[in-house]
């Protein structure tokens, strides 16, 4: 199977990006240096091509009820123009994907799925809607849509300058909202104030055939602020510092949202509120909530230099394995190794010292409360 390509492939080649296979897509790993790209997002702004992400459009009179049933969140309670972080779980409570859902109209939701899980989420949604007999359709519009993210403290000014004059009041947008905007030259975009970097930022969903124009517009309007094109390497270091989980690392079918410390995304309904109804995974998740978890996700920080990496063993004082590292790297912002790991709840208290087997040598790391990095409000 040949690699899927973003509509911005020619731009990446022209910028001399290092391209990498990511879930079947040929995407930029970095353009220049990944550490410089990381700092650009923390201090100024970065431009990301996220066209590999899946956009699944859910439409129909029962769209909200259908998502209430299929996902762990109470989606019918979302207001128009709101975005929500949520998950789709299996009947056993295991996570099938983490998602951001945007309510674009009363009967139209956009479900953004991870590239690796897009086809599975599509199939699950279709099957669940059909089984529940609800009037809602799902269309995979991934290939018709490009997703371009502008992230960093300078992003609001840059996106405002990208807009047509008179239509540039994006700064009034609240975090986790989305709205249709008109870009310079008459290009339409759905702009959401969302991201995966721990910074303020915007994600622009645009028609694939306008992607190159929008990309060039962002580079032009962002140049004075130091906006840099950024690849997946910096995206990973940014999200890890922000304590955000990555499917396949912190999240998998082997654990529920509760182990990942994200039990809050599961809505069982509020007392006195509208009926939440049944949803796929409810029984299993209610049991986990009741009985507690056998492992929990923590942040680890080390005072040495060698970083824990995915799959390394977390050990106790006698070097017995008690947990596993899910992600880890030398943090560009903190200048120390950071990691996320699953450990028994008894070892999850901040300040607890654990060992990590870093290629045969024990390195000590301390449990700290996530996130590792939080921007100034």
């Amino acid at each position: 199977m040949s690699a899927l390509r973003s509509p911005l492939h020619a731009q990446h080649v022209a910028l001399d990006a290092s391209l990498v296979d990511f879930a079947g897509w040929e995407m930029p790993l970095r353009y220049g240096g990944d550490v410089a790209e990381h700092h650009a997002v923390r201090n100024a702004a970065g431009l990301f091509d996220l066209s590999h992400m899946g956009e699944l459009m859910v439409r129909g009179a029962d769209a909200a009820a259908a998502l209430d049933h299929a996902l762990v969140g109470h989606m019918s309670r979302m207001g128009l123009g709101r975005a929500k972080y949520t998950m789709i779980c299996a009947a056993d409570g295991g996570v099938l994907d983490d998602l951001v859902v945007y309510r674009r109209d009363w009967d139209h939701f956009m479900v953004v799925a991870n590239a690796a899980n897009r086809e599975r989420v599509l199939a699950e949604l279709q099957a669940r809607f059909a089984a529940a007999g609800l009037d809602a359709t799902v269309d995979d519009e991934t290939h018709a849509i490009a997703l371009i993210a502008v992230q960093g403290p300078a992003s609001a000014g840059i996106v405002a300058r990208m807009c047509e004059a008179g239509a540039d009041d994006v700064d009034v947008m609240k975090y986790y909202t989305g709205v249709n905007i008109l870009l310079e030259g008459g290009t339409h975009a759905y702009a959401a104030r969302t991201g995966y970097t721990g910074e303020d930022g915007f994600e622009l969903f645009v028609a694939a055939d306008t992607a190159a124009d929008v990309w060039e517009l962002a580079l032009r309007e962002g140049a004075a602020d130091g906006l840099q094109p950024c690849g997946l390497a910096s995206r990973d270091s940014l999200r890890l510092e922000a304590g955000m989980p990555l499917y396949g690392h912190e999240l998998s079918h082997d654990s529920t949202p509760f182990e990942a410390g994200l039990g809050r995304v599961v809505s069982f309904g509020v007392a006195g509120g509208p009926d939440r109804g049944d949803f796929v995974g409810r029984e299993a998740l209610a049991r986990v909530r009741e009985e507690g978890v056998a492992k929990t996700l923590v942040g680890l920080v080390g005072d040495g230099r060698r970083a824990a990496r995915t799959g390394y063993a977390v050990t106790d004082a006698e070097d017995n394995q008690v947990g596993i590292v899910t992600s880890g790297l030398p943090s560009p912002t903190l200048g120390q190794p950071i990691a996320m790991a699953y450990v028994p709840p008894a070892l999850a208290e901040p300040g607890t010292v654990v060992g990590v087997d870093v290629r045969g040598r024990r390195e000590e790391m301390r449990v700290i409360a996530l996130p590792f990095y939080k921007r100034d409000a």
Partner: protein, 127 residues
């Protein structure tokens, strides 16, 4: 295309060696531009200590970037005579000048280093 200077010799594990490679002489060792690009920005280098014995083809240290960690192999056998201490505070030299200020360590050879590749030979393995 990553550069491969003609005057250097190379290992299959992507280290370069400069200087006379006969027994008793001192050579300088670093990693190639190809290797540095594959690793991404190097943020930490663990080089062998001065006085340590190193053996051609064996691991003698490690290099970390945000994205990955890579073992450092010694391309030659001998005793380490000097380590590039500036990499402690400026590991980015490995990406900026892999064949210059990004050199990693020097070795006094205990044997002739006969198995190294020339630039053309390394170009074939780093394709």
């Amino acid at each position: 295309m990553a550069s491969i200077p003609e005057e250097l010799k190379y290992s299959k594990e992507h280290e370069w060696v400069s200087g006379d490679v006969t027994s008793g002489s001192v050579v300088t060792v670093g990693i190639t531009e190809h290797a540095a690009e594959a690793l991404g920005d190097v943020v930490f280098v663990e080089a062998p200590a001065v006085g340590a014995s190193v053996t051609a083809g064996e691991v003698c240290g490690e290099l970390e970037s945000t994205k990955a960690v890579s073992e450092l192999y010694s391309p030659v056998s001998g005793t380490v005579t000097e380590v590039n201490d500036s990499l402690e505070n400026a590991p980015e030299s490995i990406n900026a000048e892999p064949y210059g200020s990004g050199w990693i360590f020097k070795v006094e050879l205990s044997d002739d280093a006969g198995d190294l590749l020339d630039a053309a030979g390394y170009a074939d393995v780093s394709e």
